[in-house]
Point group: C2
Chain length 484, copies 2
C-alpha cells in the first residue's frame, strides 16, 4: 500500500518535502492557497528529479502520485504524515493545527518545518498536542539529509520512534534534539556566523564574496565531512581533545569575534567536551582520522573539480598553469605522451588499488588530450563537432596504487575520414599497466550523427597516423576478448 | 633554478607548509628545535604524498629537496620565502623575526601562520617590518587552499603581489584581507561557532557528536561549495538577497544564539549586503545557482558515499535497505538483472550526457553484483579470494542522460575453473545503450595470482553458465575493435 503525506504550505521548503516523499514512493497531497503553488512546487520537484534518484546506486521505489487540494481538510484525509511549512508566525501555525486536527487521522504525525519555534510553543493551543513535533529540514530538502526532530514530553516515545522511522525511510537523518531550545541546534550556529558576518561587512573588513571564499576554500570543506569537534580532535593530535581545548581555551576571552557572551571554561565543561569526543571518535586513532579526513577532502575537492566550481575551479586553474600545452609533437614518428599524472585517492578502493572504471577514465583523458592536440578543442566542440567513442577494448595487465605516477603513450592506428582509431598504453615507469584500444567516430553535435571533421583536424590527425604507420603494431591490437 | 623556502617551526602546521612547498617543486629548509621534528614533519609529508599529487590531472613539478638545519641562520640562507609557525606567543614570534632578519635575504617574504595576531603586532619590533605579513593557513595545509594574507601599510604593494604569486604557485588561494583585525576572517566564524557549541554542551542541549552531525549532514555540505551568502541568496529566491535579509532580519534580536552582541540592521547595512551579493553572484540567475548547488551537492554526497563516510554512509545504508538482495535467480535460464538505477549527475558532463568511463563503472557494478550473487561477497573477499578483470570490450550504442533509469542484464558466457566470462547489456527501457564483454580471472588476494575459486562459488557460477548456455549468443560477442 502506498503511504501518503500532506504538504501544508508549498514554497521552497514545502516543495522540497513534497519532492522527497514523492520520489521515495509516497503519494503527496498539497495544500497551499498561493495560486502559483503548483508551478513553484513543480520547479522544485523538477530539480529533485534531476538530482535525487541518481544519488542511490539502486532503483528508488516508483514515484507516488502528486495531487493539489483546495481545502486543507481534503489534503490531510487519510495521511500518515503532515508537514507544515507555513510562514514563521506562531498564531498562523497554531490556527493551521486547529484546522488540521479537525480532519486528519489521529495517528498521523504532524511535523513543523519551523526554524525557530520550540515544539511546546507549537503544541500550545492544539487539540491533540501529542501529534505535533518539530521536524526542521535544510534547503535543498530533497538533497540534504539533516532533520532536527524536536519532541516534548507530550509526545509518546513510540510516536517519536515512528517519526524517526518515516524520516529515515525517505532518506533523511533524524537528529533527535533531546531538549527544546530556540532555533534548535544547527540554526544557532548559522545565526552566530550570520551575526559575525554582518559585523565584518558593517565594519568594512570583508565583502560577501570574501566571506564566502573564507568559508568554502577552508573550513567549509572540513565541515562537509567531520563537523567541528572531530576536526578539532585531529588538531589536538595524539594528546586529544583536552589538549586542544587547553590550547585554545584562552581565546574565549579574546575579541576573536564580536560575540562576547561566552561560557566559563570550567574543568567540568572541559571534561564534558573531552569525554563526549572520546565517546564519539575514540575508536579511531588520530592517524586513522587524518587519513579518513584526507580521503574525504580529496574526494570532495576532485568532485568540485569535475564541476569546475569553488575549490575545484582553483585546481583546474592550477592544472592549466602547470600542464603541458596541447600541441603537435615535433617528431611525428613517435607515440604521443598524452597523460602524465599521479593516481588520485578517489580512483582507488579501500585497498588503494585502482578501480577498473578509472583505467577507462585515464584513457578517456588521453583521448581528450589527443583531440586537443589535433585541434578538436573546446572552441571546436562549441562550434558543433566532436569525436564520440564507439568501441573500447581494455587489457588490464598490472595493478597500480594511489599516488603512483603514470603516463600514457598514444599510438594513432588510423585517422581518416570520420574514423579515429587509437591505441593507448598506460605505464608506471617501464611497467605496462594496461592498454586501451578505442574506435572513435567524428559526429555533428547537432544531428548526433557521424560527420566529416573540419579540414585542419583531418590534416593534423592524418599527419599523426602517417607518422605512426612505421611504428610496430602494438601487442594486443585488434584482438577479441579471450584471444591471445 | 629551484626556489627554496624556510620552515621555522614544524608540527602539524609547519609540516603542512613544508609538504606543500616540497611537492610543488620547492627546496625546503626546516628549523625546529624539537628533537622529534624530523619524524613529525615526515609523517605530515607522508600524508601529503598520498593525497596531494593526485589532486592534479597533470604531473606536478619534481619534488624539491628537504633538509633540516640546527641553526635558524642556516635555514633561512638564500631563501625566497620564510614561513613562521612557532607557538602563538607574541614575544616569541618577535624574537624569531629578530634572529631571522639578521640572516635572511632582504627580498625574502616572511609569512606568519598566526591565527590571531595582527600583522602590525608582528611587525612591531622588527628590523625590517616591510618583510613580514600574515599568511594564515588551514589544516591540513597540504590540501585546503585558503590562505588569509594580511599585510599592513608597511608592506609594499609589489611585495603583497609577489606573495600572492608564490602562494598561488604552490596551489593556494590567497585571500587578501584588506583591514587587519584580531583572528582575521575565517577564525572569527570558527570562534563564534565554538562559543555557541560550548554553550550547547554546557547547557546539556547537545553532545559533540550531535553537534558534528548537525553540521556535516546539513549546512556543512552547503558551505563546502558556496559559503554563507551565495547559499542565502538562493534561499531568498528571485526576490534576491534583500528579501532574504528582510525575512530573517528580526531574528537578530531573538535569542537564537547566546551571542547577543549584534550589529544594528540599518538600511545602510542591508544595502551593503545586497549590493555586494549582486556583485558576487548577480551574473547567475537563481535557477542557475540552484542547479550549480545541486550538481555540487550530488558530487560531494556521492564522493562521500564512495568513502562510506558522513552523509555518504547514510546513503549506503539506505541503498542496503531498499536494494534487491543478492541471491541466485529462481529461473537460471534467463539473463540476470544485476543493476537498476538512475544515472547520477556526477556521471555526466556539462551537457548531461554520460561520460564514457561511467559506462564501465556501471558494468563494473554489474560484475560486482553478479559476484555477490554467486557468493563472492565481502566475507569471501575478506577471506582472500576475488575476481579481477583481465579484459573489457565496450560498445557504445546510444547516449544517455542524467536522471535516466537504466538496467543491466547479465549473460554468463562461461564460468569454469578460474575464468568468468560475462556479457552485460545496458538498457534504458527497451533501448540498448551499450554492451560490455568482460573476462575475469579468479585470484588469490595474497599471491595476486590466478587461483581456483571456492567450490560453492564454482558451483553457483557453473549453474548460471549452464542455464545461460541455451540463450542466443549476444550480438557483438567475441568481436575485435572495428569488426562488425
Amino acid at each position: 500500500m502506498t503511504k501518503s503525506a500532506a504538504i501544508i504550505g508549498g514554497g521552497v521548503i514545502g516543495g522540497g518535502w513534497a519532492a522527497r516523499f514523492l520520489l521515495m514512493g509516497w503519494d503527496v497531497r498539497v495544500f497551499d492557497p498561493d495560486p502559483e503553488a503548483q508551478r513553484k512546487i513543480g520547479e522544485v520537484i523538477d530539480n529533485a528529479r534531476r538530482s535525487l534518484p541518481g544519488l542511490s546506486d539502486v532503483a528508488l521505489p516508483d514515484e507516488g502520485t502528486l495531487t493539489f487540494h483546495s481545502e486543507m481538510s481534503d489534503a490531510v484525509a487519510g495521511v500518515a504524515w503532515i508537514q507544515e511549512s507555513v510562514p514563521e508566525r506562531l498564531e498562523l501555525k497554531r490556527k493551521v493545527y486547529q484546522t488540521l486536527q479537525a480532519h486528519c487521522p489521529r495517528g498521523a504525525i504532524i511535523g513543523s518545518s519551523t526554524s525557530g519555534f520550540k515544539p511546546s510553543e507549537l503544541q500550545g493551543c492544539a487539540t491533540r498536542p501529542e501529534q505535533i513535533v518539530v521536524t526542521h529540514p535544510f534547503n535543498p530538502v530533497y538533497l540534504l539529509p539533516l532533520i532536527e526532530l524536536v519532541p516534548t514530553d507530550k509526545n509518546a516515545p513510540e510516536m517519536v520512534e515512528a517519526a524517526k522511522g518515516i524520516l529515515t525511510e525517505i532518506g533523511m537523518f533524524p537528529l533527535h534534539v533531546r531538549a527544546e531550545i530556540d532555533a534548535h541546534i544547527a540554526d544557532r550556529f548559522l545565526e552566530a556566523v550570520w551575526r559575525e558576518a554582518l559585523w565584518l561587512i558593517k565594519d568594512g573588513i570583508a565583502t560577501t564574496e570574501e566571506i564566502d571564499n573564507a568559508i568554502r576554500y577552508g573550513f567549509g570543506l572540513r565541515w562537509a565531512q567531520m563537523g567541528l569537534f572531530e576536526t578539532y580532535r585531529i588538531a589536538g593530535g595524539e594528546a586529544g581533545m583536552r589538549h586542544f581545548i587547553e590550547q585554545f581555551g584562552p581565546c574565549l576571552s579574546w575579541p576573536w569575534t564580536k560575540l562576547m557572551d561566552v561560557p566559563d571554561l570550567t574543568d567540568d565543561l572541559i571534561d564534558k567536551v573531552a569525554d563526549q569526543s572520546d565517546a564519539q571518535s575514540g575508536h579511531m586513532s588520530i592517524r586513522e582520522l587524518e587519513r579518513a579526513r584526507d580521503n574525504n577532502l580529496v574526494t570532495i575537492l576532485r568532485g568540485l573539480k569535475a564541476q569546475d566550481f569553488g575549490a575545484g575551479a582553483l585546481l583546474n586553474a592550477q592544472d592549466k598553469r602547470i600542464g603541458a600545452p596541447a600541441e603537435m609533437p615535433a617528431d611525428l614518428s613517435k607515440r604521443v605522451t598524452t597523460i602524465r599524472r599521479a593516481i588520485p585517492l578517489d580512483w582507488t578502493d579501500y585497498n588503494g588499488h585502482m578501480n577498473e572504471a578509472r583505467y577507462l577514465q585515464a584513457f578517456g583523458d588521453a583521448t581528450d588530450k589527443l583531440m586537443e592536440i589535433i585541434g578538436c578543442d573546446a572552441d571546436y566542440i562549441a562550434s558543433g563537432g566532436s569525436y564520440f567513442t564507439a568501441e573500447t577494448h581494455i587489457r588490464h595487465l598490472d595493478e597500480v596504487h594511489a599516488g603512483a605516477k603514470i603516463h600514457i603513450e598514444t599510438h594513432v592506428l588510423e585517422g581518416k575520414g570520420k574514423k579515429m582509431h587509437l591505441f593507448h598504453t598506460m605505464l608506471a615507469g617501464e611497467r605496462v599497466l594496461a592498454t586501451g584500444e578505442h574506435m572513435l567516430i567524428h559526429v555533428s553535435l547537432e544531428t548526433r550523427k557521424a560527420s566529416e571533421p573540419a579540414p585542419h583536424i583531418a590534416t593534423a590527425l592524418g599527419a599523426l597516423a602517417d607518422g605512426h604507420a612505421s611504428l610496430p603494431r602494438p601487442d594486443g591490437v585488434g584482438k577479441a576478448i579471450g584471444t591471445r
